[in-house]
Subunit: 497 residues, 2 copies
């Protein structure tokens, strides 16, 4: 049996090498590649996707997993071995439903389409991008059809990012959020114009400050990089090779929060147990769990009063001409200003989820309703006005702002808001064990928090389902209440401060 | 038949995607990767090597090539189609001799060993690297054994870089070179200490100047990058995605020549006909032909009087404190100084080939003679004293200076000196067509030369063997005389100037 298990590891190691290579190629394409390389790169990504898919869906792998069933049952549920067999079997059964050619077509289209999107966004030229979106929707329908029967056609898309989660559960959480957020924003929303937040903040200093922060959060030059890109993301080529990306604008300090956000993703991948390296388990378990970490570090930690009591003096020193007269409290209030704005990734904590709910609704209407790509910008702008009260001036600030649809990542957006929700569930739980975090943050110490999260969340990788993991950590399922409570307390206190 | 040919292109496209991906992973490992990623990267490279080898040596590919024989014979010898079938058949027959596992082991070892070498070189710690060299030699013996019978055990190694070339031919060329070079160096060698050549030359300005030059030579941001590394090289992930690497030292201007050298490699790959993209023919034909281009641009163009009459004013302006008092003639003499030195890549044109001949001899003694890795540094230093008259102070400046042995690239070194030889054969030939190159260079114009080389050399990629290509271009085989003539004329003139 040990021999059969070693054979499983060997096969999965090879497949994981191809997948990690794809991720590196994607990173390279986005961050490093000269534009002339785009068309061949799309072919390379399609080839890697096709080969890894082919290797994974082979009958022999299915037989091997069957042979290993008694071995799996003889081991602890939590063991690396039982978990690898169990999770791989579930992945295999799912992957068998998708024809190799379709998987490769999706990968190739995503790569080409993202290139088109990047230019279209720059020029705010939605029509240039629209044919690619149409083609993506067409392929996605073929993809969804692979999973018939389903209760809701959106379920298979959701399942790609949040295994086991169903569409009605998301609607329920989002209904709770909408109900709580619209009045909260009406109450604490502000027109306050913090002129000092518009800089100028020279980019090189922002880069230095970003590194200073994330080096406290767990970033090391030994295992991480930080580069610039258009749409920030984190990628990993191994648990010891994590690529964070960010962007800088002289007119704001968003980059500091972007760095913490991407670092949150990075330290999750980095914290997976080394015993799971080169297996399908060596990643964060789901998009929402991942986002729970990035947004916990970005917001719950990174916009807290104790954090800024430690770090603000350094920021002030870096930009004395802009911030010389600005006291800590004013700065802290400014980075927590609730004010509807156009760009999701720059949104404050209170309005953020509304950006997501809008996309969740529109992508379902595009896929299954009567909304056409021709009418999408108009629908976007109308919904935006309804939820956030603003008139979208152009598609660059509207429908073209996110990369996801160009990459075919339908079903991804809801996980961002679910991440907020889960992050606060974990945060409430960990405060029972870690009682002096405020004091630690005020000293620039984040090691105890990092260690707790590594122990309870990161090291498990994909061993457990998101539901199992949440049950282990907080003793229950998804619950919007801690997040709503957090927002009400935080912004209530700031409003009366 | 067209369908069978399309099937061949499809299969070869997939294989070429994996190979180009490997090259990108190698570039990334060397230029971008955090050090923590090394061990997983070695696995990834081994997997890609194993898969591309497996896909290439399949019986079906052999049958397909057989089926296509009548199609090949019905087409022009020069056509893309006939060439692809012909060259692939030769590659296939060669690759079938190497077991997939051995190919993967060699790739994995190379990746790990290069990491060790990079650190060993930094610390001048040969003993740390020696076990890896032993293991590499062991695998190379197994590799050579795959090609029995052979006339000379070095032939199979040579054939990897210079298909069809035999060891005695190299010895003959090298004997001619040794005979000509030793007296030439004795005659024109100089102790002149050009103090102004030791800088300081701030690195950022060197980077700008490097780009200014290579943008005239054919580099475009659309299709190229230029990054820093320890041991400069050029890599390609597609003909429109060329990665050049270089290094800077404040104490010299070597970087300008390195940039031209790597750009020469880059524009060769970039100039391959787009119709050959994603086939095994979309590369330079051999290491010596490649080197003929890099060294032609670096030396024949880049150390010429007309080149510097164009570019020296800009260099002088960049470093006024160091070069303000130095006239063009003095500078031109300094960049052509013949003076034995330790590092091959920094060697002048006259001594360069001796560095190579030394390695050519030592690697044969290591592989097939009585020289052990324990005695290698001593043997290196003794031979160095004999050929170049210098005492090697440490292994960093001696046996550890080159990456090639760590990567298992035995048989590669001779191609560097053969590149000089072939480069001058091509140079003599092209001057019959291009009669006013000196005037063009003096105006900073290199387009006509680039175009001639693209038309006669680059665009063919690997369609012809090195011998066929040389025959097409210069009407004969390898001949050391043009190179010896060039050196005698150039350095004779400089010595009497």
């Amino acid at each position: 049996m040990e021999e059969r298990y070693a054979e499983l590891r060997r096969r999965l190691g090879e497949i994981e090498d191809l997948r990690q290579t794809s991720e590196l190629l994607f990173w390279d394409q986005t961050v490093m590649m000269p534009p002339g390389g785009a068309s061949v790169r799309a072919e390379q990504l399609a080839t890697l996707e096709r080969l890894s898919h082919e290797l994974f869906v082979r009958d022999e792998l299915g037989s091997l997993l069957e042979e290993l069933r008694p071995y799996e049952e003889s081991l602890e549920y939590d063991s690396d071995e039982a978990s690898l067999i169990r999770v791989t079997r579930r992945d295999w059964e799912k992957a068998r439903r998708v024809p190799t050619e379709l998987a490769a077509e999706l990968a190739k289209l995503a790569s080409e389409s993202e290139e088109v999107w990047a230019h279209a966004r720059q020029d705010s030229d939605y029509e240039r991008f629209r044919p690619w979106l149409d083609r993506t929707l067409e392929l996605k329908h073929r993809y969804i059809a692979c999973f018939e029967p389903y209760d809701d056609p959106y379920d298979p898309l959701l399942d790609d990012y949040e295994p086991g989660l169903r569409t009605p559960e998301v609607r329920e959480v989002f209904d709770t959020l909408k109900e709580a957020l619209l009045p909260l924003i009406a109450e604490v929303g502000s027109d306050e114009d913090d002129e000092f937040m518009r800089g100028p903040f020279p980019e090189a200093r922002q880069h230095e400050l970003s590194l200073q922060i994330i080096e406290r959060l767990g970033y090391t030059p030994e295992s991480f990089r930080l580069d610039r890109t258009v749409h920030p993301f984190a990628a990993s080529s191994a648990t010891q090779d994590i690529r964070l990306t960010t962007r800088y604008s002289e007119q704001d300090l968003t980059s500091l929060f972007t760095a913490m956000h991407e670092c949150g993703h990075g330290i999750y991948e980095h914290g997976v147990s080394p015993t799971l390296e080169r297996t399908p388990l060596c990643h964060g378990v789901s998009a929402a769990l991942h986002e729970s970490q990035s947004r916990l570090w970005e917001n719950v930690v990174g916009r807290s009063r104790p954090f800024w009591s430690w770090f603000y003096p350094q920021v002030r020193e870096a930009f004395p001409e802009v911030l010389g007269d600005v006291e800590l409290d004013r700065f802290h209030a400014a980075v927590n200003r609730v004010r509807p704005s156009f760009i999701r990734v720059d949104a404050d904590e209170a309005t953020y989820s509304l950006h997501v709910i809008l996309r969740f609704e529109l992508e379902q209407e595009l896929l299954f309703g009567s909304l056409t790509t021709a009418d999408l910008p108009e629908a976007w702008n109308a919904r935006f006005k309804e939820y956030l009260g603003l008139d979208v001036p152009d598609d660059r600030l509207g429908v073209l702002q996110d990369v996801h649809w160009s990459g075919g990542s339908f079903g991804y957006f809801p996980t961002y808001a679910l991440g907020n929700v889960i992050g606060l569930q974990i945060w409430e739980r960990l405060q029972r064990d870690l009682t002096d975090l405020d004091d630690q943050f005020a000293r620039g110490e984040f090691g105890a928090l990092h260690e707790w999260l590594r122990e309870h969340v990161y090291r498990h990788g994909r061993k457990f389902t998101p539901q199992e993991l949440l049950e282990r950590v907080v003793g229950g399922g998804i619950d919007a209440e801690p997040y709503v409570r957090y927002l009400r307390e935080k912004f209530g206190a700031l409003a009366t401060a």
